[in-house]
């Protein structure tokens, strides 16, 4: 049982490491305005109540990585109710990347679904 739990965790982690960037880009592409980390985490929480895709704290380094790759841009704004917040916005290059990543995701999903349903044509 312990092995299964560990293996599940490992599998989930490996799956998440690739899809986290895609999810974050997609959230920001659909947003009407720039968003800060905590709000993005809340959106993910609402859409992923059963098994959280990733811990909220793991969001921040991914956001930073996307920013340093030029897929996101950010600015800091003061907040009336707390500390200044860093707002993220998707860039033009981020939108283009999202488009191609979505295509890759669809292809991978179709392939994996096919195999899982027993499609083994040679």
């Amino acid at each position: 049982m312990a092995y299964t739990t560990d293996a599940n965790k490992k599998f989930q982690k490996e799956l998440n490491s690739g899809s986290a960037s895609l999810v974050l880009l997609s959230i920001l592409a659909h947003a009407d305005e720039p968003m800060y980390g905590y709000r993005i985490a809340k959106i993910m929480e609402v859409n992923d109540e059963s098994v959280p895709m990733m811990k909220q704290g793991a969001l921040y380094p991914v956001l930073r990585s996307l920013e340093s790759s030029g897929l996101l841009e950010s600015h800091i704004d003061p907040s009336v109710s707390g500390p200044p917040r860093r707002y993220y916005k998707i860039t033009k290059s981020g939108l283009e990347t999202l488009k191609s990543w979505t295509k890759i995701w669809d292809q991978t999903k179709a392939f994996v679904d096919g195999i899982l349903k027993g499609k083994t044509d040679v």
Binding site: S17, A41, K55, G57, A58, R64, S65, G82
Partner: protein, 295 residues
């Protein structure tokens, strides 16, 4: 299980031990900002629960310290400072290495940093020295305390900005997030936190020293660069445009037989200037990191 945010942050710091201090500062800043926002919301929704009760599920969602530390480590290994990997491979003959510095982005970054330090030195250093003296003088009045507090806050801002310039031009990893400022603290507590933290005073000293350093860097590098170019172009300057280099006194032209040697000296002085810039950039980057990043 962590009972409060401080304990949780201490655990993250422990997990990240040995990593770049700038990365640790960023991770702590991200975590503190997120957790305080979530805690504020939780206490607002259920005022009857204690802070310890409220923080447990928040930390659970945020992630265990070891998970978060490993996420930061993994991303950091893929996100290096702008110029950190751009150094030209040090292979080939010593001549190629000597002149190859001119094609090295890191040397150019250091060169521009030194030129820019004229502006940053005057602005940052000038502000640290003069605004510092003025705010200290106001301490004799009761209004002086908030003025000193604001001044120290501005020094933190300058430290962050300088860190970004250092990372962009010198390729040294510096904090990418400003330090978290707990707005739940009273003005007095915030002021005391600023006073007690050595980073505030080190940042102030750094900003003040940027004034003389900036002048030395910018004038030094500009002088060497201008000398190199004028040496290289000396035959054209003296023989075609009749502009004396004045190497042998005011208005004195260089003997014609000496001009090719002066020109060759210029070709050597230019890469030497860039080697010097790269070395200064490396040393200054280490110094900036020791002064502007929380140890």
């Amino acid at each position: 299980m962590c009972r409060d945010i401080r304990e949780y942050l201490a655990k993250i710091e422990k997990e990240l031990k040995g990593c770049d201090p700038a990365l640790i500062q960023d991770a702590l800043s991200d975590a503190e900002g997120h957790l305080r926002m979530a805690l504020g919301e939780a206490l607002l929704a259920k005022p009857s629960i204690s802070e310890t009760e409220a923080i447990a599920p928040i930390i659970e969602k945020y992630g265990h310290p070891e998970e978060i530390a490993s996420a930061y480590r993994a991303i950091e290994s893929r996100t290096s400072p702008a110029l950190s990997v751009s150094r030209v491979k040090e292979t080939g003959s010593s001549w190629a290495r000597f002149f190859g510095v001119l094609a090295e982005p890191k040397a150019w970054g250091a060169f521009f940093y030194m030129l820019l330090s004229l502006v940053t030195g005057i602005v940052f250093g000038g502000w640290a020295i003069f605004a510092g003296i003025i705010s200290l003088c106001t301490l004799v009045f009761i209004i002086g305390i908030p003025i000193v507090g604001l001044f120290l806050l501005s020094i933190r801002g300058i430290a962050f900005l300088e860190g970004r310039i250092v990372e962009a031009l010198l390729g040294i990893r510096m904090p990418r997030r400003s330090l978290f400022l707990d707005t739940n603290l009273s003005w007095k507590e915030m002021f005391m936190a600023f006073i007690k933290e050595s980073l505030t005073w080190k940042s102030l000293l750094y900003a003040a020293l940027q004034f003389p350093l900036g002048l030395i860097y910018s004038f030094g590098i500009f002088l060497l660069f201008a000398l190199s170019l004028s040496f290289i172009g000396s035959p054209v300057l003296e023989l075609v445009f009749h502009l004396p280099l004045e190497l042998f006194g005011p208005e004195a032209f260089t003997p014609v037989w000496l001009l090719p040697f002066v020109s060759i000296a210029g070709f050597f002085l230019l890469p030497l200037t860039f080697h010097l810039a790269r070395w200064v950039g490396k040393v200054h980057g280490k110094y900036a990191k020791s002064m502007l990043v929380r140890a």
